[in-house]
Amino acid sequence: MTDAMVLPAEVLALLRHAGTRKVVATTGPDGAPHVAVRDALEVLEDGTLAFPEELDSSRTSRDLVHAIWFQRPVAVGIDRGDDRWVVRGTAERCLIVGPLFRRFLVAARQREGPDADIAAVWVIRPEVAWDETPAAARARDHERRPYAGAHLDRASIRREAGEDLDAGPAPGRQRRVGGEDVADSIADLDQASEASRR
């Protein structure tokens, strides 16, 4: 058994924030994908993720059994406004009794009323996490494939008729990707365009 990866601090902060939406993505025995919102998901002290399942017969439960039995990956989507992360991992454990199971059940009853119930608590062991914010995704994409995929008519790229060649991108056309200014990238693209024209 290996230790769970250490999740980035911003992921841990997101997971601990009450308003964060959490989605568990699985695949079934037939390969069919399934997603389910599981906002009760939380990070445990050892870095694993845990969440309750109300029904053993839910698709998520079924898929998680399939995942732990046949070593299929599981993904957790974490979303709070502009901050989005994805954690991919393995189904580590299914708890149907014990202190953690009871804690999640008590929490469910406090949240949803005394008749709330859970069938199991599933524990996911994170293996990799990445920032899924659109800007971060674009930045990664650009880093790997600098000139592929981006439509050339995008405002940050295409020069309007009569636009000053030295003016650079028009005000408001600069975008932030992953917290970094991409003006240099745009300039690179401009230079490349010029080179191709010659």
Binding site: M1, G28, P29, L55, D56, S57, S58, R59, S61, R62, V65, H66, I68, W69, F70, E92, R93, C94, L95, I96, V97, G98, P99, F101, R102, L105, V106, R109, D117, I118, A119, A120
Partner: protein, 616 residues
């Protein structure tokens, strides 16, 4: 060699052979079927074995004396010693099969099977049929089966008996000798290099190999069945770790195992990472058990020295250690599986009276140990208020139980057969039911074969939701042999009838029957091959499934204290093949074993497979 068939037969018949044993001996008397001395060796297929019965004793004892007298007198000169020899070697129908040549009884074979060997106590062939190769055919079959089960074959032979040469030809070698005897053996096949506890030469394999060969069956489920099959022992460190309040199950839980009070507190059921519980606590002795160790605050399962996986134990229920209003320890009233409360309101099985208990059963073998488990407060019949108090307290723990299961020793007494038992279950269920607002509560009764009136009472007067009359052994012949009490009260047809009637009352899918899988291979009367055993289960499951009844299998454990102690178990592959077959049949009939699933029971690999089913 002098042929004396007429005299031998006549002497047997003079000793009084019952009518239905006459056919083979009468045929033996008829000269046309009897071969002459030194005739061509017999074909193996005309040599068969049949079960023996007490009325075969005259034939067997006279034949043995006839065959062995000369060698015994050569070995011991004192008449007392000679008589002692024959007295000690009397025919025993429990271990003996009659050797037949074209359905003619020509000899007998006595075997004792244990965990690591088959011991050939006797093999005697009538002198008129010696030299035909009949003994060789029989012994080759014994050797083949022992090899298939990974066992050594051993025997003793008088030094003066020329049969020792035959044994040498068959591969036996002398491994010890005394003044009077040679001890000979064909060793067990070489030990497996995988250390997986399977029996080499059987085509068997360990859990990982089988998971690779049967990719639709998860390793977890195979592992669970293998842990059940081979047993579990705990290191001192692991045992130390379960003595505290988190895991300490007291001493009551071992009642499910060997009926022994453990020297230290035991944990509850083992938990695998997929949530499955495993009922395998007892150290099973010579079955190469798995080991649980404690490493870095984790419980770790080992197979020999090989790491298998991290595991856990079921946490101690909050009601353990508490007492009822009458002062009775609650854990003596109800024991806890991960999500199921088990109540046994009557701790005595009347089948044990007169030796009619099921031959694999070891429950109720140590009443004193049960008393020790409960501070001496266990009575044969549990008080209803103690039941009410215990259930009430158990339900205080959030989310701990989602089903109540009732079972007890069989009690056939009453105006109708089982009336006493039914009355007791109704009263107990009513006491439990006082704890619920709803009329029905998730519950299962593993009971005996009740008639329609009794079943209707159970349904109408209690909150019971599922009924389980366990057939245990589907094959009719083996049912009679293995479950003599059930065969008598009220008989196999009665058990089947009860399950069928219950479907009309409790509804399809709410009636269950369990089979102790593998016990149908027990020696000496069980099926000869695992394929035959498997076919029998398939037939039983198909039959019940057609009627809306869930037929489940569980792994047979030859408990100490049972009549089948020390019997060899089937291969792990047998269990893997079995659960696939049973699951497929139930699926085809739209049946799910929700009452006996991984959360509630933990005994059934085939219901574990249903975890991949999803609600529509």
């Amino acid at each position: 060699m002098r042929v004396q068939r007429g005299r031998a037969v006549n002497s047997v018949r003079a000793a009084g052979v019952p009518r239905h044993a006459e056919k083979p001996t009468a045929t033996l008397a008829g000269a046309p079927l009897a071969p002459t001395a030194r005739a061509a060796p017999v074909a193996a297929e005309v040599v068969t074995l049949r079960d023996s019965a007490v009325w075969d004793a005259p034939f067997a004892n006279v034949l043995m004396r006839r065959v062995m007298d000369h060698y015994v007198r050569q070995t011991w000169t004192s008449p007392e010693d000679v008589e002692t020899y024959f007295r000690k070697n009397q025919f025993d129908p429990a271990t003996t099969r009659i050797i037949c040549w074209r359905d003619v009884a020509v000899g007998w074979l006595s075997l004792r099977w244990s965990a690591d060997e088959v011991f050939v106590d006797h093999v005697h062939i009538h002198p008129a049929f010696q030299g035909r190769g009949i003994g060789s055919v029989v012994l080759r079959r014994v050797l083949a089966e022992a090899r298939a089960r990974g066992l050594a074959t051993r025997l003793q032979v008088l030094r003066v008996n020329p049969a020792a040469r035959l044994y040498m030809r068959l591969g036996f070698r002398v491994h010890a000798e005394t003044v009077t005897h040679f001890s000979m053996e064909v060793p067990a096949p070489a030990a497996s290099a995988t250390g997986n506890g399977c029996r080499p030469g059987t085509g068997d394999a360990g859990p990982r190999e089988l998971a690779a060969q049967y990719p639709d069956v998860p390793l977890f489920v195979i592992l669970k069945m293998d842990v059940q099959r081979r047993g579990l022992r705990m290191t001192t460190a692991a045992l130390d770790a379960v003595q505290g309040p988190e895991y300490n199950y007291g001493r009551s839980y071992v009642l499910y195992g060997q009926g022994e009070a453990a020297p230290r507190y035991a944990p509850g059921p083992l938990l695998l990472r997929d949530g499955t519980s495993v009922l395998a606590l007892a150290d099973a002795g010579g079955r190469n058990p798995y080991t649980v160790d404690r490493i870095d605050d984790r419980f770790v399962l080992f197979d020999g020295d090989a790491y298998v996986d991290d595991v856990d134990f079921t946490s101690r229920p909050a009601y353990y250690g508490k007492r009822t209003r009458r002062g009775v320890p609650m854990e003596s009233i109800a024991s806890a599986r991960p999500q199921r409360l088990d109540i046994n309101p009557y701790r005595f099985c009347h089948f044990w009276e007169g030796g009619n208990q099921c031959k694999y059963c070891a429950y109720f073998t140590d009443v004193k140990a049960q008393e020790r488990c409960a501070d001496g407060r266990v009575a044969r019949e549990v008080d209803l208020e103690d039941v009410y108090d215990t259930v009430r307290e158990a339900l205080q723990e959030p989310g701990r139980f989602s089903q109540v299961m009732l079972t007890s020793g069989a009690d056939y007494r009453g105006e109708r057969t089982f009336d006493f038992e039914v009355d007791r279950h109704i009263a107990t269920l009513q006491a439990i039911g006082r704890n619920f607002r709803t009329r029905r509560f998730a519950s299962q009764l593993i009971g005996c074969a009740y008639d329609q009136t009794q079943l209707r009472r159970l349904h109408a007067e209690t909150g019971l939701t599922a009924y389980c009359p366990d057939i245990e052994v589907w094959d009719a012949r083996l049912f009679e042999w293995i479950c003599p009490g059930k065969a008598k009260w009220p008989g196999r047809d009665g058990w089947i009838r009860s399950a069928l009637d219950a479907v009309d009352i409790f509804g399809p899918g709410n009636v269950y029957t369990n089979a102790v899988a593998g016990v149908e291979l027990a020696r000496p009367h069980g099926f000869a091959t695992e394929d035959e055993a498997l076919a029998s289960h398939v037939e039983g499951c198909e039959f019940f499934a057609r009627h809306g009844i869930v037929y489940l299998s569980l792994v047979w454990i030859p408990w100490r204290g049972s009549q089948f102690a020390n019997q060899a178990q089937p291969s792990l592959r047998f269990y893997v093949r079995l659960i696939r077959e049973l699951r497929a049949i139930r699926k085809a009939h739209g049946l799910l074993a929700r009452n006996d699933d991984y959360r509630h029971c933990g005994n059934h690999g085939d219901s574990d497979l249903e975890r991949l089913e999803v609600a529509a």
